[in-house]
């Protein structure tokens, strides 16, 4: 009943949701960054599965873009975390909630 594509997508979904849970419960900014990476990875998996399903290169192309983006994001994100850590002396993201509506 489950074919290959579905199995791969379900796995991607599970990984994504795990990343999401982590994102929601963590207060440490580095952990939140890791959660984002988990979710990005899950999304990449979904693209690969789709590429395999259709036999088209576009899925893999998209994965490469995700990879590039993840790299850039991590570098900028880490730099930001560094700044926050210097400013606030903590990695607690709730401490950085000075923005008030």
């Amino acid at each position: 009943m489950m074919n290959t594509t579905m199995e791969g997508l379900v796995l991607a979904g599970i990984l994504f949701v795990l990343g999401l849970i982590s994102m929601l419960i963590r207060r440490n900014i580095i952990f939140m960054l890791i959660s984002v990476e988990i979710m990005l990875n899950a999304a990449g998996l979904a693209f690969i599965v789709a590429a395999a399903r259709w036999g088209q290169p576009e899925g893999q192309v998209m994965f490469m873009f995700i990879l590039a983006m993840a790299a850039a994001e991590v570098s900028v994100g880490l730099a930001l975390i560094l700044q926050i850590y210097h400013q606030l002396k903590t990695l607690d993201s709730d401490e950085a909630s000075k923005m008030r509506g």
Binding site: I25, S93, S97, R100
Partner: protein, 620 residues
Amino acid sequence: MQWIYLIPALPFLGALLLVLASGRIGKTGVTLIGCGSVGIAALVTIVAGLQFMNSGQAGYVQHLWDWVSIGTFRIGMDLRLDALSLVFTFVITFVGFLIHVYSTGYMADDPDFARFFACMNLFVGAMLLLVLGDNLLLLYFGWEGVGLCSYLLIGFWYKDPANGAAARKAFIVTRVGDTAMAIALFLLVQHTGSLQLGTVLARAQELWTTGDPTVVLIAFLLLGGAVGKSAQLPLQTWLPDAMAGPTPVSALIHAATMVTAGVYLIARTNALFVLSPSAQAAVAIVGAITLLLAGCSAFVQTDIKRVLAYSTISQIGYMFLALGVGAWSAAIFHFMTHAFFKALLFLGAGAIIVALHHEQDMFKMGGLRKSLPGVFLVFLIGSASLAALPFVTSGFYSKDQIVWLAGAAAGGNAFYSLAAVLGAFITAAYTARMIFLVFFGQEKTHVHHKPGPVMMAPLYILAVLSTLAGFIELPHTLGHLTLLSDFVSPVLPGVVTVHGGVALEWGMQALTLGLVALATWLAWRLLAAPFPDGLKQFLKNGWGFDDAYNVMFVQPFVKLAKINRRDVIDKIYTGLAAVTRGFHRAMSATQSGILRWYVMGIVMGAVIILSVIIWREYAV
């Protein structure tokens, strides 16, 4: 006669000058302007009146300028001199002049001397406009104008809030009647397309047959205006309170002139009332009931001015009765004599009040016969006239005519006669009681200073008039002279007698004479007699009308106003604003800065969107 515009213009001018010159011209200047303007107006009236009588015209109309002119609806500033307006104009200017002269003595020490005369002049001007106006709008102009002056003068001593309240009551209660009258005017505009008296009355006869609902409605609404101004049932409550004003004001406005405006109005629009018999009957019934109720109230008052006030209501009731039965000229006759003797009585009362240092309670007077002989004499003459002492007083001739016609005229019946005779009895009783209380018995308050000649002279003149004015119209039994009714006959239809002739008149006269004597004797006997307290209080308060109106209209209005001071409608909008603000609060609370909540929001959104997709695409 081309000078008649001066008659109302002069007092208006006087008022204007007094207002503009406030405080700059001294007491003499104020006296000159105040009395002079009315005096000259009186002279002009006499000259114009003589010219008018010689000319033999039925009416003279002077067009001054177009007031309001829209298409076919044209109303001019037109003055009309005819028999009816001449009688009223004469009384107003002449009695007005005497009262002005009297006031210079009465008000001599008042700091607001100039304001008093400004208001009085304004009043005379407005009243003259009322009676001289050739159209109902101009009449309404004067009608409201005298209401304003009445308000200003009742509340003349403004420091006491009670005076202010009385003044406002007078204005507001009469305004209720005025509103009815205004609606009558709208009806007339709608149906006759005009308010010009001649046109209206002529068109009325073309348009409506007797008893047509429209004309009946108009007549009833006009009656509403008349009862308001003339303090008849059910709008009579303001007049006794109006005695808060200075006594000359009571004499001029609340006895001689303004309160009889209702009589003038009904007499003026007699054609409309003739066309609506039910309204005319209502006039008579209102008059009959009012004269009895007010007479009873007058009998138990302790304040001398309130006695006279209730007496005025009662006497105007007679005039209404006369109008109601179709005895038009009798009403006008009684108006004239009443103006003389009631002004005399008020001014006499004023002299007493001043002499006793503003004491108005009759039970604190007494024995003034000796200390104020002059006043006693004129007061006695006035009282005799009021009580209709036969043969020598004007009041006898005018009232006798009404008493007789109440039964004998076309619209009359036994009930009216009974009311009129009973009224005469009550009148005599309260008059006698007043005389006994004030002038006889022990002296209870010392006389401070006697009224000077400025005050006494008008009293003497009025006393003479109160006696002589009656002789222009003598009953069938005593020579049958009809000067006045002949004079007004071009304007007012003559009376039709149906129910008995001279014999009835004899009977009525004899009955009245007997009753007056009986009443005087009874009053003397009852002076000290105990009166049931509850009843006395009830009568004294004017049959509880005030309390009833208070509960029915005043209290609910005030309460409603108090409750809704903040305007409930505004709550709708502030409520709307509050909802918006609440929404704003809720939304801004989500901008907490806590990153995880944002993610939570995104997840929720995703869940909801996916749910919607699943529900729409795949569920049943």
